[in-house]
């Protein structure tokens, strides 16, 4: 579900979601319906929740270990373990059911960080993807750090200098200030 950007706040150590009155469909059972998919008719409902993820421990750098597009290990990122907790409320639109509650990670797995997949990983090995490579390097520094929300904004990233940026060995060897905008299409 796509939501407004301002429903999510990102700081150095936390991610907070505050979603109000999202229109959803309660599928009752999971899996369910024909073919054990999500094929039940479901009940229209409204859901609100607040949840905060908090970073913990050191980061790990995840590298793709395969190029298989169907594998869960074909992505790259800088991830931290994370705990989370939150509250929620929901109500069927027909008024027949409503509930509210709270939850927390309680030792279960959670993580947060910065990642790229699909074409953004494939581009890194292509000379044609150099522009993305340079841009990405500005967002994903060699030294692990949670990028600030401002850094994640593309026009700010474009203003970054390229010190420390990774470059393809076979790519152009830029020196000095690079007119990155010229590389972005």
């Amino acid at each position: 579900m796509q939501i407004p950007d301002d429903a999510v706040k990102i700081t150095d150590d936390t991610v907070t979601i505050s979603l109000k009155n999202a229109s959803v469909v309660d599928q009752i059972r999971f899996p369910g319906g024909t073919g054990n998919n999500l094929g039940t008719a479901g009940v229209a409902a409204t859901l609100s929740f607040d949840i905060t993820y908090s970073k913990s421990g050191a980061s790990r750098h995840v590298q793709p270990t395969t190029t298989d597009p169907l594998s869960p290990f074909n992505w790259e990122g800088q991830m931290w373990n994370a705990t989370n907790s939150g509250t929620f409320s929901l109500a069927y639109n027909d008024g027949t059911f409503s509930a509210q509650g709270s939850f927390d990670s309680a030792g279960n797995f959670g993580e947060m960080g910065f990642e790229r997949n699909g074409s953004f990983v494939e581009d890194r090995s292509d000379a044609a993807g150099l522009s993305e490579h340079v841009l990405d390097a500005a967002k994903l520094p060699v030294n692990p750090a949670w990028p600030s929300p401002a850094q994640n904004h593309s026009n700010v990233a474009l203003a970054q200098n390229t010190q420390g940026a990774l470059q393809s060995p076979s790519g152009p060897n830029f020196r000095g200030k690079i007119p990155i905008r010229e590389l972005i299409h």
Binding site: M1, Q2, I3, P4, D5, V8, I10, I17, V24, V25, D26, Q27, I28, F30, P31, G33, G35, N36, N37, L38, G39, L47, F49, I51, Y53, V62, L70, S71, P72, F73, N74, W75, G77, M79, A82, T83, S85, F88, F97, A99, G101, F103, D104, S105, A106, N108, F109, G110, E111, M112, G113, E115, R116, N117, G118, S119, F120, D136, N152, S154
Partner: protein, 141 residues
């Protein structure tokens, strides 16, 4: 019936709002730009091409983590492909109370993604798409 019921409300959550990015089940995939609260319009994101088979259908979501029914610590946490940005996820346990005072155990897997992605923009008369870059925020509930 005991107050504590073995109803995993979180499982229902899994089935709630994730349909647009999961390949199975209604409604059909959206091919038109999606208006969201606040007035903005974003391109629809594309689901990752694979995921878990549960039990006979493919759902376009992996389960990061170590343990039974999980795909490994470094398994893909995203349900959107061609994505670059922030991601956070976590499994939780909790409790809920309904409007009749019944209590429930809650299991959730809530994920959030904010970043750049390559979505599909329809340009052909049949709704066929070409790639287009966009930026957005998504939750998997």
């Amino acid at each position: 019936m005991p107050k504590w019921q073995k109803l995993f409300l979180g499982a229902a959550f899994l089935a709630l709002a994730c349909v647009p990015v999961w390949g199975q089940g209604p409604p059909p995939p959206q091919v038109l730009p999606i208006p969201v609260p606040g007035g903005d319009v974003f391109l629809p994101a594309q689901p990752i091409p694979a995921g878990g088979v549960l039990p006979s259908a493919l759902f376009n979501v992996f389960s990061p983590g170590v343990g039974a029914f999980l795909d490994g610590q470094d398994a893909e946490p995203n349900v959107i492909t061609n994505f670059k940005g922030h991601a956070a996820m976590g499994y939780t346990l909790g409790t809920a109370t309904d409007n009749n005072g019944n209590q429930y155990a809650v299991i959730t897997d809530i994920r959030v993604y904010r970043g750049d992605y390559v979505g599909g923009t329809p340009i052909y008369i049949g709704g066929g798409t070409t790639s287009a870059k966009s930026h957005g925020t998504f939750v998997l509930i």
